[in-house]
Protein backbone atom coordinates (compact mmCIF):
# COMPACT_ATOMS: atom_id res chain seq x y z
CA UNK A 1 0.00 0.00 0.00
CA UNK A 2 1.66 3.17 -1.07
CA UNK A 3 -1.23 5.57 -0.59
CA UNK A 4 -1.71 7.12 2.84
CA UNK A 5 -5.24 6.99 4.19
CA UNK A 6 -6.99 9.96 5.78
CA UNK A 7 -6.27 8.36 9.17
CA UNK A 8 -2.55 8.11 8.39
CA UNK A 9 -2.52 11.76 7.41
CA UNK A 10 -4.30 12.83 10.60
CA UNK A 11 -1.78 10.81 12.64
CA UNK A 12 1.15 12.28 10.70
CA UNK A 13 -0.19 15.76 11.36
CA UNK A 14 -0.57 15.05 15.07
CA UNK A 15 2.97 13.64 15.35
CA UNK A 16 4.42 16.61 13.47
CA UNK A 17 2.65 18.94 15.89
CA UNK A 18 3.97 16.98 18.83
CA UNK A 19 7.47 16.98 17.37
CA UNK A 20 7.50 20.75 17.14
CA UNK A 21 5.95 21.18 20.62
CA UNK A 22 8.79 19.05 22.01
CA UNK A 23 11.49 21.09 20.26
CA UNK A 24 13.03 22.32 23.51
CA UNK A 25 13.34 18.80 24.94
CA UNK A 26 16.78 17.15 24.50
CA UNK A 27 16.88 14.85 21.44
CA UNK A 28 17.50 11.91 23.69
CA UNK A 29 14.10 12.15 25.42
CA UNK A 30 12.20 13.70 22.59
CA UNK A 31 12.79 10.81 20.18
CA UNK A 32 11.89 8.25 22.78
CA UNK A 33 8.63 10.06 23.67
CA UNK A 34 7.69 10.38 19.99
CA UNK A 35 8.50 6.72 19.40
CA UNK A 36 6.35 5.56 22.30
CA UNK A 37 3.42 7.76 21.34
CA UNK A 38 3.66 6.37 17.81
CA UNK A 39 3.45 2.88 19.33
CA UNK A 40 0.55 3.99 21.53
CA UNK A 41 -1.35 5.16 18.45
CA UNK A 42 -0.66 1.81 16.81
CA UNK A 43 -2.04 -0.06 19.82
CA UNK A 44 -5.09 2.17 20.07
CA UNK A 45 -5.77 1.92 16.36
CA UNK A 46 -5.76 -1.87 16.47
CA UNK A 47 -8.52 -1.73 19.08
CA UNK A 48 -10.87 0.49 17.06
CA UNK A 49 -14.06 -1.17 15.84
CA UNK A 50 -14.45 1.30 13.03
CA UNK A 51 -11.60 3.40 11.75
CA UNK A 52 -12.83 6.74 10.53
CA UNK A 53 -12.17 10.41 11.00
CA UNK A 54 -14.07 10.64 14.27
CA UNK A 55 -12.64 7.50 15.89
CA UNK A 56 -9.08 8.49 14.99
CA UNK A 57 -9.82 12.02 16.20
CA UNK A 58 -11.07 10.61 19.50
CA UNK A 59 -7.97 8.40 19.84
CA UNK A 60 -5.67 11.40 19.33
CA UNK A 61 -7.79 13.53 21.69
CA UNK A 62 -7.34 10.94 24.43
CA UNK A 63 -3.58 11.09 23.96
CA UNK A 64 -3.94 14.82 24.42
CA UNK A 65 -2.86 18.26 23.32
CA UNK A 66 0.81 18.23 22.24
CA UNK A 67 1.35 21.30 24.44
CA UNK A 68 0.18 19.42 27.54
CA UNK A 69 2.55 16.56 26.74
CA UNK A 70 5.39 19.03 26.11
CA UNK A 71 4.67 20.72 29.47
CA UNK A 72 5.00 17.36 31.19
CA UNK A 73 8.20 16.71 29.21
CA UNK A 74 9.62 20.01 30.47
CA UNK A 75 9.88 18.32 33.84
CA UNK A 76 12.32 15.79 32.38
CA UNK A 77 14.77 18.66 31.92
CA UNK A 78 14.38 19.80 35.51
CA UNK A 79 15.94 16.53 36.53
CA UNK A 80 18.80 16.97 34.10
CA UNK A 81 19.18 20.61 35.16
CA UNK A 82 21.81 21.50 32.58
CA UNK A 83 19.94 23.62 30.06
CA UNK A 84 21.41 26.86 31.36
CA UNK A 85 24.88 25.38 31.24
CA UNK A 86 24.36 24.11 27.69
CA UNK A 87 23.92 27.69 26.50
CA UNK A 88 27.45 28.51 27.68
CA UNK A 89 29.13 25.58 25.97
CA UNK A 90 29.55 26.99 22.43
CA UNK A 91 30.96 30.28 23.71
CA UNK A 92 33.37 28.65 26.13
CA UNK A 93 34.61 26.41 23.33
CA UNK A 94 34.99 29.30 20.91
CA UNK A 95 36.49 31.95 23.16
CA UNK A 96 37.44 30.24 26.41
CA UNK A 97 41.05 29.51 25.47
CA UNK A 98 41.89 32.99 24.11
CA UNK A 99 42.92 34.55 27.45
CA UNK A 100 45.57 31.82 27.37
CA UNK A 101 47.48 34.04 24.91
CA UNK A 102 48.34 36.28 27.85
CA UNK A 103 48.93 33.50 30.35
CA UNK A 104 48.29 29.87 29.46
CA UNK A 105 46.39 29.06 32.67
CA UNK A 106 43.75 31.64 31.75
CA UNK A 107 42.75 29.38 28.88
CA UNK A 108 40.92 27.12 31.34
CA UNK A 109 37.52 28.34 30.05
CA UNK A 110 37.84 26.06 27.05
CA UNK A 111 38.49 23.03 29.26
CA UNK A 112 35.40 23.93 31.28
CA UNK A 113 33.44 24.10 28.03
CA UNK A 114 34.64 20.62 27.03
CA UNK A 115 33.57 19.30 30.44
CA UNK A 116 30.09 20.80 30.08
CA UNK A 117 29.83 19.51 26.51
CA UNK A 118 30.60 15.91 27.45
CA UNK A 119 28.32 15.85 30.48
CA UNK A 120 25.35 17.29 28.57
CA UNK A 121 22.52 15.17 27.19
CA UNK A 122 21.74 17.72 24.50
CA UNK A 123 24.46 16.58 22.10
CA UNK A 124 25.21 13.16 20.74
CA UNK A 125 28.65 11.57 20.58
CA UNK A 126 29.50 12.87 17.10
CA UNK A 127 28.62 16.45 18.17
CA UNK A 128 30.84 16.08 21.22
CA UNK A 129 33.74 14.87 19.09
CA UNK A 130 33.30 17.74 16.64
CA UNK A 131 33.03 20.24 19.51
CA UNK A 132 36.24 18.98 21.05
CA UNK A 133 38.39 18.34 17.98
CA UNK A 134 37.37 21.17 15.62
CA UNK A 135 39.41 22.92 16.85
CA UNK A 136 40.97 22.33 20.27
CA UNK A 137 41.24 25.77 21.84
CA UNK A 138 38.57 27.29 19.58
CA UNK A 139 39.85 30.56 18.15
CA UNK A 140 43.10 30.35 20.12
CA UNK A 141 45.15 29.15 17.14
CA UNK A 142 43.71 31.92 14.99
CA UNK A 143 44.49 34.59 17.56
CA UNK A 144 48.00 33.22 18.11
CA UNK A 145 48.72 33.32 14.41
CA UNK A 146 47.33 36.85 14.22
CA UNK A 147 49.36 38.32 17.11
CA UNK A 148 52.45 36.40 16.10
CA UNK A 149 52.24 36.29 12.33
CA UNK A 150 53.79 33.31 10.67
CA UNK A 151 57.46 33.76 10.12
CA UNK A 152 57.60 37.05 12.01
CA UNK A 153 61.07 38.09 12.90
CA UNK A 154 61.73 40.17 15.95
CA UNK A 155 65.07 41.91 16.18
CA UNK A 156 66.53 43.42 19.29
CA UNK A 157 69.63 45.55 19.33
CA UNK A 158 71.98 45.59 22.23
CA UNK A 159 74.58 48.17 22.92
CA UNK A 160 74.64 51.94 23.19
CA UNK A 161 75.97 54.80 21.10
CA UNK A 162 79.58 54.47 20.14
CA UNK A 163 79.66 50.83 21.08
CA UNK A 164 79.46 48.23 18.39
CA UNK A 165 75.90 47.09 18.09
CA UNK A 166 74.90 43.48 18.22
CA UNK A 167 71.57 42.61 16.76
CA UNK A 168 69.72 39.48 17.77
CA UNK A 169 66.95 38.33 15.56
CA UNK A 170 64.48 35.70 16.68
CA UNK A 171 61.77 34.16 14.62
CA UNK A 172 58.49 33.24 16.20
CA UNK A 173 55.54 31.38 14.83
CA UNK A 174 55.70 28.92 12.03
CA UNK A 175 57.82 29.72 9.07
CA UNK A 176 55.13 29.86 6.43
CA UNK A 177 54.91 31.46 3.05
CA UNK A 178 51.94 33.86 2.74
CA UNK A 179 50.21 31.59 0.23
CA UNK A 180 50.11 28.90 2.93
CA UNK A 181 49.68 31.20 5.92
CA UNK A 182 46.63 33.04 4.65
CA UNK A 183 44.50 29.98 3.83
CA UNK A 184 45.59 28.52 7.16
CA UNK A 185 44.43 31.67 8.92
CA UNK A 186 41.05 31.40 7.22
CA UNK A 187 40.68 27.73 8.16
CA UNK A 188 41.59 28.51 11.78
CA UNK A 189 38.84 31.14 11.83
CA UNK A 190 36.13 29.30 9.92
CA UNK A 191 36.48 25.84 11.51
CA UNK A 192 35.72 26.87 15.13
CA UNK A 193 32.94 29.22 14.01
CA UNK A 194 31.38 26.39 12.00
CA UNK A 195 31.56 24.10 15.03
CA UNK A 196 29.81 26.65 17.23
CA UNK A 197 27.01 27.11 14.69
CA UNK A 198 26.74 23.32 14.54
CA UNK A 199 26.38 23.03 18.32
CA UNK A 200 23.91 25.91 18.52
CA UNK A 201 21.47 24.53 15.98
CA UNK A 202 18.16 23.15 17.18
CA UNK A 203 18.06 19.74 18.81
CA UNK A 204 18.39 17.26 16.00
CA UNK A 205 16.32 14.26 15.11
CA UNK A 206 18.21 11.08 15.67
CA UNK A 207 16.97 7.72 16.75
CA UNK A 208 18.64 7.26 20.08
CA UNK A 209 17.31 4.70 22.47
CA UNK A 210 18.40 4.95 26.06
CA UNK A 211 17.70 1.53 27.41
Amino acid sequence: MTTRSASDLAIDRYLAELDSALRAVPAFHRNRILEEIREHIGEGRALLDVEDESSIGALLARIGDPKTIAAEAGAVDEVVGSRGRDAWVPWLLLLGAIPGVVFWLLGVGWILGVGFLWTSVRWRLSDKLIGTLVLPGGLLAFVLLLVRPAGATVCASHGGPGVSTVTHCTSSGLMLAPEVGLPLLIVLLVAPVFTIMWLRRNPHSTSVSDT
Binding site: L18, V25, H29, R32, I33, E36, I37, E39, H40, G42, E43, G44, A46, R62, I63, G64, D65, P66, T68, I69, A71, E72, A73, A75, V76, V79, V80, D210, T211
Partner: protein
Protein backbone atom coordinates in the same frame (compact mmCIF):
# COMPACT_ATOMS: atom_id res chain seq x y z
CA UNK B 1 -9.99 25.81 53.04
CA UNK B 2 -7.29 28.29 53.90
CA UNK B 3 -4.40 25.93 53.23
CA UNK B 4 -4.97 25.68 49.48
CA UNK B 5 -4.65 27.92 46.51
CA UNK B 6 -8.18 29.21 45.86
CA UNK B 7 -10.30 28.08 42.96
CA UNK B 8 -9.53 25.20 40.62
CA UNK B 9 -6.18 26.61 39.56
CA UNK B 10 -4.65 23.90 37.35
CA UNK B 11 -1.15 24.73 38.63
CA UNK B 12 -1.66 23.13 42.05
CA UNK B 13 -3.49 20.23 40.50
CA UNK B 14 -0.61 19.62 38.09
CA UNK B 15 1.82 19.68 40.99
CA UNK B 16 -0.31 17.38 43.08
CA UNK B 17 -0.62 14.98 40.17
CA UNK B 18 3.05 15.02 39.29
CA UNK B 19 4.30 13.61 42.54
CA UNK B 20 1.48 11.15 43.06
CA UNK B 21 1.01 9.79 39.52
CA UNK B 22 4.66 8.81 39.29
CA UNK B 23 4.17 6.64 42.33
CA UNK B 24 0.88 5.26 41.00
CA UNK B 25 2.90 4.05 38.00
CA UNK B 26 5.40 2.43 40.35
CA UNK B 27 2.50 0.83 42.25
CA UNK B 28 0.98 -0.57 39.05
CA UNK B 29 4.37 -1.97 38.04
CA UNK B 30 4.87 -3.57 41.45
CA UNK B 31 2.03 -5.93 40.47
CA UNK B 32 3.87 -6.95 37.31
CA UNK B 33 5.25 -5.70 33.99
CA UNK B 34 3.11 -3.50 31.77
CA UNK B 35 3.50 -1.77 28.42
CA UNK B 36 2.98 1.94 27.89
CA UNK B 37 -0.46 1.82 26.31
CA UNK B 38 -1.76 -0.39 29.09
CA UNK B 39 -0.36 1.95 31.78
CA UNK B 40 -1.79 5.01 30.03
CA UNK B 41 -5.29 3.50 29.68
CA UNK B 42 -5.34 2.24 33.26
CA UNK B 43 -4.37 5.64 34.68
CA UNK B 44 -6.72 7.55 32.36
CA UNK B 45 -9.63 5.25 33.27
CA UNK B 46 -8.96 5.79 36.98
CA UNK B 47 -10.14 9.36 36.30
CA UNK B 48 -8.44 12.65 37.08
CA UNK B 49 -5.00 11.17 37.66
CA UNK B 50 -3.46 12.23 34.37
CA UNK B 51 -4.32 15.17 32.12
CA UNK B 52 -4.26 12.92 29.02
CA UNK B 53 -2.87 9.52 28.02
CA UNK B 54 0.14 10.99 26.22
CA UNK B 55 1.49 12.68 29.36
CA UNK B 56 2.45 9.27 30.71
CA UNK B 57 5.43 9.04 28.31
CA UNK B 58 7.42 12.04 29.55
CA UNK B 59 6.63 10.78 33.05
CA UNK B 60 8.01 7.33 32.18
CA UNK B 61 11.09 9.01 30.69
CA UNK B 62 11.66 10.72 34.03
CA UNK B 63 11.26 7.50 35.99
CA UNK B 64 13.64 5.74 33.62
CA UNK B 65 16.16 8.53 33.91
CA UNK B 66 16.06 8.25 37.70
CA UNK B 67 16.56 4.50 37.49
CA UNK B 68 13.20 3.62 39.04
CA UNK B 69 11.92 1.66 36.04
CA UNK B 70 13.51 -0.18 33.11
CA UNK B 71 12.24 -1.47 29.79
CA UNK B 72 12.58 -4.61 27.72
CA UNK B 73 11.29 -5.44 24.25
CA UNK B 74 9.31 -8.61 24.18
CA UNK B 75 7.07 -10.49 21.81
CA UNK B 76 3.44 -10.27 22.80
CA UNK B 77 0.84 -12.97 22.34
CA UNK B 78 -1.23 -10.66 20.17
CA UNK B 79 0.38 -8.27 17.71
CA UNK B 80 3.89 -6.78 17.41
CA UNK B 81 6.64 -6.84 20.06
CA UNK B 82 6.08 -4.43 22.92
CA UNK B 83 8.21 -2.35 25.23
CA UNK B 84 7.49 -3.62 28.72
CA UNK B 85 8.13 -1.51 31.80
CA UNK B 86 9.39 -3.10 34.95
CA UNK B 87 10.16 -1.83 38.45
CA UNK B 88 13.84 -1.71 39.49
CA UNK B 89 15.05 -2.27 43.04
CA UNK B 90 15.35 1.48 43.51
CA UNK B 91 11.81 1.83 42.17
CA UNK B 92 10.46 -0.65 44.70
CA UNK B 93 12.26 1.23 47.47
CA UNK B 94 10.88 4.58 46.29
CA UNK B 95 7.39 3.09 46.22
CA UNK B 96 7.53 1.76 49.78
CA UNK B 97 8.80 5.14 51.01
CA UNK B 98 5.99 6.87 49.16
CA UNK B 99 3.31 4.57 50.57
CA UNK B 100 4.54 5.30 54.09
CA UNK B 101 4.69 9.08 53.57
CA UNK B 102 1.43 9.17 51.63
CA UNK B 103 -0.51 7.57 54.47
CA UNK B 104 0.86 10.09 56.98
CA UNK B 105 0.20 12.95 54.56
CA UNK B 106 -3.33 11.82 53.84
CA UNK B 107 -4.19 11.53 57.54
CA UNK B 108 -2.71 14.98 58.23
CA UNK B 109 -4.55 16.67 55.34
CA UNK B 110 -7.81 14.98 56.21
CA UNK B 111 -7.58 15.98 59.86
CA UNK B 112 -7.13 19.63 58.82
CA UNK B 113 -9.94 19.48 56.27
CA UNK B 114 -12.31 17.93 58.79
CA UNK B 115 -11.48 20.59 61.38
CA UNK B 116 -12.18 23.18 58.73
CA UNK B 117 -15.60 21.81 57.79
CA UNK B 118 -16.54 21.37 61.48
CA UNK B 119 -15.71 25.01 62.28
Amino acid sequence: MRCMVPGNDPAWLAQLRRGSVEHCVLALLSQGERYGFDLARTLADAGGLIASEGTIYPLLARLRRNGLVETTWRESSEGPPRRYYRLTEDGALALSEFIHEWKRFQIAVNSILEQDSAA
